[in-house]
Symmetry: C2
């Protein structure tokens, strides 16, 4: 999807504070009409999410800002969460992450979540995009709130719904806190020895923590 | 100690990127000679830590920059780690934190660490200072590296030494990652439900995680 996010005014200015993937882009004169429309919609989406927050933004509002029909937003991107994933070039989609973690039953859910987390972060294509995202969250500005709203609404709540426990939201949120601290220690601060410990050892350390948060007493 | 860090040029500019406590300060004309010397030493310390990192800074170097005898630095503040605690107005001292957590044996070490963490963060006098510190760490600039070096050297290593396990450094580092993620989720992002969950519930959730990191298989 990000290949359709060419360089341009929004790439240079980033007035909304969201990270973007820098790419070579195509020369302006050779853009197709569809690519132009997608770009218009994604620019409008970033501006709407930054202005109104994740919860306060609608596909209809994005379409209005982009000057297109809401059906076209749906056609290109699907529901609001998918517009968000595309606009921020997120390297994971709640639609696939949550079922992947849940698949196979509750017994090794914590380990699966830990493996999923490291599979994303250790991928050299994906890591820079996650770092940009994490730095935005850490910055504490308006975009940080939008991303954390998205995480709460689409990841934490969805995971919580599947867990079917009275305190499921707290359980999912505690997993998020553990993983965020780990990402920050290993990939941003590069603190040793966590930064250079092999993934299997870290999964063995952190997997049971996530398992207890998700399914423990 | 922080009462002796009056407002002044360094308060306004913060060229080294370290957070400082803002206070009313005393009028310049009424400063004592001792307070002036302490201020000189703390300003020199911040500048040296920012320039050379925690490991690369010595009491001798701080004294040279301040234009005083090293013995005077020792007299006012003690060893390097105590100069750092004073210069950054840290609300905790590794000298007391580590023994407090370890006192009482290994059985409830995780819960004691969690309680210590929340006792600091929930104190309305201390929370703003910890927030300033965390924001500095999150900023990723030079001061962040200095603080994380200090944490590694003086907190993680000291805790690891007392744990007396071959992977003690990793164990202590994992505790730090968990606590950092928790602080960020609850106090910076204010993500729910972690942000409004009572401390006893959080200690009951996170204490066993820290216990396993510190003393588990």
């Amino acid at each position: 999807m990000a290949g359709d996010l060419p360089g341009g005014p929004s790439d240079a200015a980033e007035p909304d504070g969201f990270p973007r993937r820098r790419g070579p882009g195509r020369p302006a004169g050779r853009r197709s009409g569809a690519a132009d429309t997608r770009r218009l919609i994604l620019d409008a989406a970033r501006s709407e999410f930054a202005r109104a927050g994740y919860a306060g933004t609608s596909v209809r509002g994005i379409a209005r800002t982009a000057g297109v029909d809401p059906a076209l937003v749906h056609h290109y991107f699907g529901p609001k969460e998918s517009v968000f994933v595309a606009a921020l070039d997120l390297p994971f989609d709640p639609d696939s992450l949550v079922p992947d973690v849940l698949a196979g039953g509750p017994d090794e859910m914590g380990e699966r979540l830990a493996r999923y987390f490291f599979a994303l972060w250790e991928d050299p294509e994906i890591q820079p995009r996650l770092l940009a995202l994490l730095r935005t969250v850490l910055s504490g500005d308006a975009a940080a709130g939008v991303i954390s709203d998205f995480m709460t609404t689409e990841l934490v709540r969805r995971l919580a719904r599947e867990l079917d426990a009275p305190d499921a939201l707290l359980r999912a949120n505690l997993c998020g806190a553990q993983l965020m601290g780990l990402a920050f220690t290993r990939y941003v601060l590069c603190m040793e020895p966590v930064a250079s410990t092999d993934v299997d050892t870290l999964v063995a350390s952190v997997g049971p923590t996530l398992q207890r948060y998700l399914c423990g007493d």
